[in-house]
Symmetry: C2
Subunit: 661 residues, 2 copies
């Protein structure tokens, strides 16, 4: 249901195929013009005409060997014992312009690539000859045409060399050069205007005001347009204002062949976009949404002049997927190219639900486990930029499929051809020490880091998907770190490698205005805290400290936390805790010293925690894991780590402290 | 053995791995500098620095839903029957800068993407609320953090966002934009000078003198350099002259980071190249050839300043393969990139021999038979440009392998990522009518034409490799075309589809100076002929006519042809026959009228031959074959064909005239 002005219109959502058919039936999509370029500037361009050869290649009968040009008839019967003797009447070098001609009983010395002299029809390789004065002994007979490449045998005059719509790369430019063509007519690159809409957007490079975020889609879509050989025109950000929107679209239509909008998420903005896009017609809007999740807000309009305006979803990974399925085929048609996607097969890591009658698209992260590639579906409709960072491509779940099970084979359409599988998967708790270590790895190690928290890392190691998991989990009963969790969760396929120590404590504003000295102070009525999410190692630590206090006070843990203002105000990272304190949203939070240092906040130490690495036993032989461990144990890394505030290197760093069985 | 000046030096050939190790041990290969670009101009560039985030993403706690921002504690226990009632104290839009704060019992209306108001820690989706005046009923409880993306949960301040040496494409630029970065430091593209050497070379676009051919390698290598993200500098052609060569290499070294030579084939040129390359050191030449076939002439030298000069083989496909195995890894290292080759598995179509102790590289043409991909090895050491045209990639046969058998699985390294498998394989005799038909095919048909002669086409159909084979083979006994060959060679898996008629005859110079009127005249002593190769349909035709004459004259065929001057002067195409006549190399030849017309020659008709199409029965359902047949039968094609000189359309064009069983 779409509200346009006062009308309420019910529109059917279309499948991508239906939407594209509607586009192709409404307006003629094809090349937008041609231009002439020199062949050295033709890389990746598309031929606008069939190319025929104006010459024979080779242009003359050409020797393919060093030796003697002869009349084959004169050599018949020659062998090692009965050589034929011929008179040498000349010599032909490669590139020679004047040629001696030969008569019966004569030969001409000839170089590879040199033109055959008139009268000769074969070449005897130099290995089977002996030159004596102005005579040559021939020790092997040749047949007519032997060691000769005849004129036009490669390409003939008038032969079709390259077909219109061919993309010119290494080989194609070689064919053009071979027939002497220096300039070719190619299709002009389509110009594609890109407009981002939304009041919350700021262009990168400018300061962020409160409530604002950076515009991402302009740049991801611009690069996607380039990947299709088209020319992006960045129009900038348009706010939630009909005049601004109308002007931007009008300007974009006047200077480009295709206009791409990427949507703000507010309802008002959608209405406004609809209004302006209907104005550019007739026909105006022809597709009012796709039967795809995500992709419902996709809108396609056609201007009076027959130019397309396509509105993409607002979330970057959604916009990229819809670009793939809708814009790519259109840009390909505008250049007479095929859509050339790379697909690979993988097994699903976890179950992925269908979208009940809609087609579901899931961005997926690919992990090469060593026993095949596993695809992790990422949230389809999420504003998380990390989705973009981790998604190597996407999978499609058809309308009629309820769900795909973990282990099912799926086909992944890659976002770029240039997918280089990573060979070191580090999954677990985010850590600043790891951020120092990873850039120091040798270049053959392609590390991929996925921050899913300690417990997420532990499960990934148990399932054999991660090579390394960084974990910091305290056992509330013993205070011991990590090993109790390896045991409790039965991670018997792995070892625990000693990592390093991080200082945990209370993060308070500079100068500690509320005079907080310990966890007991969190119970004070005038103190509001920021907490970490459940499952975070830091949350385990705080709850352990609170249990101790509760037990001393003789109250239940549950009753105790009810007294804490902000106990349910949860954030998911160390830095988010520090940010909340820095922005005055809380008076105190618990986290690592490095996070406090980052925001210039004060820090009240509570103790040191162990940040260790769980590694599946069968990965200890993997080259990338060995490189990781060597680096972890190196003096170079230890020195860098000790410089981080609140980090300490234990003497047994890098040693195996626990082994599953 | 290499002769340098007066010294004779024996050098060991190296494997590609040994050669690269020698390079990397002799000179430090790495990035050649950096430059700063705006992110919108960063497509395909390589990061020169680790990139850390200066902000949290999102920069603030952000609602992920439209609804009401609340304190989760206030909603505990709420359900359909027991809604919680909260006071609405404000409204927050996306991008809002001023935020109302909430106290216990209060809520704020909030849009997706809008910042969370202070005091709120969760969002109730609008679907579970009912607004009544300045109050809202909440019908479902939320937990702390529900529908909220907390500040920094996606990317934290100080977090490593992208690692040095990352190639920037769609996703990477999105990450840069997300953290507000507008300019990035990237590695400068290496500048690569390209020099072609050889007296026989002419730059495309210029007229070809006698004995000359066009320079191909400059352009194929230039495009290969671009495919690696580097910047080619075309230095032009250098002749077989030491001063010219020395100047060109000196100039190239002064303006570029790497110099690529591609070699003329003459022995003198090789000596000269060696001399100049040893002068640029020390160290001078460090690799004197590769233990690879082709690739033996590959030479690598290092200048005093530590710049590399690499001499590649002269034949275009050999130069491209050696570029792949030697230059690509070096260019990759100069940009801190991986070598990202696409390999696919295929079955060998025919046996391929190893190179006895050397590694053998074969360019291969890939054919998708519908039952898997088949690789045709092409001659490794051939100057044929058609090798370049047909080679999709290459296979490697290790030093220790004697040969690979037809049907063996091989791994093909593709020349470009953008390999789009063809879906219509036309193999057989070259024909000008086909050159007209192919560009008229609908765009979904990706046709590949391989001209291997009629018999080659017939075998390809019999083996099920070709979709269509164009053949014109006359039965010497009956004079009937094509069908007898389908029977005789047992091509029972195929049908024969009627094609069209081509007029065969004698091609003579304009004005017919030797007054030739028929095949009998070829026996005259003053007439020199040009013949076609054995296996060519036209050769079959001539021999049939000659047999008739021999039988009339009562002599043997063998004795008859001995009387024909030029009977053994064989060329391989219709056009080559016409070219030989046009250039005065022969007085007469046999071929089709269209070839004579192309060269403006006179034509003495001998009769009409049938050029038909053999098609495997199981391909008649293939969409591309259906499109081919529909076009063959169309009036549009028939009209175009009838305009060609010496072509005639039979009434049953496109019908099946024979079917195997």
């Amino acid at each position: 249901m779409v509200e346009v002005g006062k009308r309420v219109i019910f529109h059917e959502l279309l499948t991508p195929e239906e939407a594209l058919n509607k586009v192709f039936n409404t307006v003629r999509i094809g090349p937008v013009g041609t231009e002439v370029v020199r062949i050295e500037d033709s890389y990746g361009r598309v031929l606008a005409r069939d190319v025929y050869s104006g010459i024979d290649v080779p242009p003359f009968d050409r020797s393919t060997m060093d030796g003697f040009a002869v009349r084959a008839e004169d050599t018949f019967g020659a062998d090692e014992l009965n050589p034929v003797r011929l008179r040498v009447v000349g010599n032909v070098e490669t590139g020679a312009e004047k040629l001696p001609s030969i008569n019966p009983g004569e030969a001409v010395e000839i170089a590879t690539g040199a033109p055959m002299p008139p009268g000769a029809n074969a070449v005897v390789m130099v290995e089977y000859t002996k030159r004596v004065g102005d005579e040559v002994f021939i020790y092997r007979s040749v047949t007519p045409g032997e060691n000769v490449m005849s004129a036009g045998s490669d390409i003939m005059v008038g032969e079709l060399v390259l077909r219109k719509c061919t993309v010119i790369r290494e080989r194609e430019v070689g064919l053009l050069a071979a027939v002497g063509i220096r300039e070719v007519e190619v299709f002009r690159r389509p110009r594609v205007s890109i407009i981002s809409t939304g009041n919350e957007l700021v262009s990168p490079g400018n300061p962020l005001g409160p409530g604002k975020i950076y515009d991402i889609n302009t740049y991801t879509i611009s690069h996607a347009v380039r990947s299709m050989g088209a020319e992006p025109i960045i129009m900038g950000i348009v706010r939630d204002n009909i005049d601004e929107m109308r002007d931007a679209i009008k300007r974009a239509l006047s200077i480009s062949d295709l206009v791409l909008l990427s949507g703000g998420t507010s309802a008002g903005l959608a209405d406004l976009t609809y209004r302006v896009l209907d104005e550019i017609g007739p026909p105006g809007i022809i597709v009012h949404g796709l039967k795809v999740k995500p992709g419902k807000p996709t809108v396609i309009a056609v201007s009076r002049e027959g130019k397309l305006v396509i509105g993409l979803p607002g979330y970057p990974s959604s916009a990229l997927m819809i670009f793939n399925i809708i814009v790519k085929p259109i840009l390909a048609k505008m250049q007479c190219m095929g859509v050339d996607e790379t697909r690979i097969k993988a097994r699903l890591a976890i179950r992925a639900d269908g979208a009940r009658g809609r087609r579901a698209l899931y961005p997926v992260a690919l992990v090469d486990t060593g026993h095949g590639i596993v695809a992790y579906p990422l949230p389809a409709e999420s504003g998380a930029i990390s989705t973009l960072a981790f998604a190597d491509g996407y999978i499609v779940i058809p309308e009629t499929v309820e769900y795909l099970e973990s282990g099912d084979e799926v086909e992944v359409t890659l976002f770029t051809h240039q997918y280089v599988p990573s060979n070191l998967y580090i999954v677990g708790s985010h850590d600043i020490g790891l951020d120092v270590l990873i850039p120091m790895l040798p270049s053959f190690v392609k590390a991929r880091v996925i921050n899913v928290g300690s417990m997420g890392g532990l499960y990934a190691v148990k399932r054999g998907e991660a090579d390394v998991a960084g974990i910091h989990l305290v056992d509330e009963e013993t205070g011991q770190y990590n090993i109790p969790y390896m045991v409790k969760y039965g991670v018997n396929n792995a070892v625990l490698v000693r990592g390093y120590l991080r200082e945990q404590g209370l993060i308070v504003p500079r100068g500690n205005p509320k005079n907080i000295n310990g966890v007991e102070d969190l119970l004070r009525g005038d103190v509001r805290i920021v907490n970490r999410n459940k499952g975070a190692g830091t949350r385990f630590l705080l709850d352990m400290k609170l249990r101790e206090i509760a037990s001393k006070m003789g109250v239940s843990f549950e009753d105790l936390v009810k007294k804490i203002n902000g106990y349910y105000y949860e954030v998911r990272t160390h830095t988010a805790v520090a940010a909340a304190v820095a922005q005055g949203k809380a008076d105190v939070g618990i986290g690592i010293r490095a996070a406090a240092a980052m925001y210039g906040l004060d820090f009240i130490p509570l103790g040191w925690e162990s940040y260790d690495f769980a590694i599946p036993i069968d990965r200890l032989d993997k080259e990338s894991v060995k490189a990781f461990l060597n680096l972890l144990r190196s003096n170079e890394f230890k020195e860098r780590l000790e410089k981080l505030p609140g980090y300490k290197v234990p003497s047994d760093i890098g040693s195996i402290v626990w082994k599953g069985s």
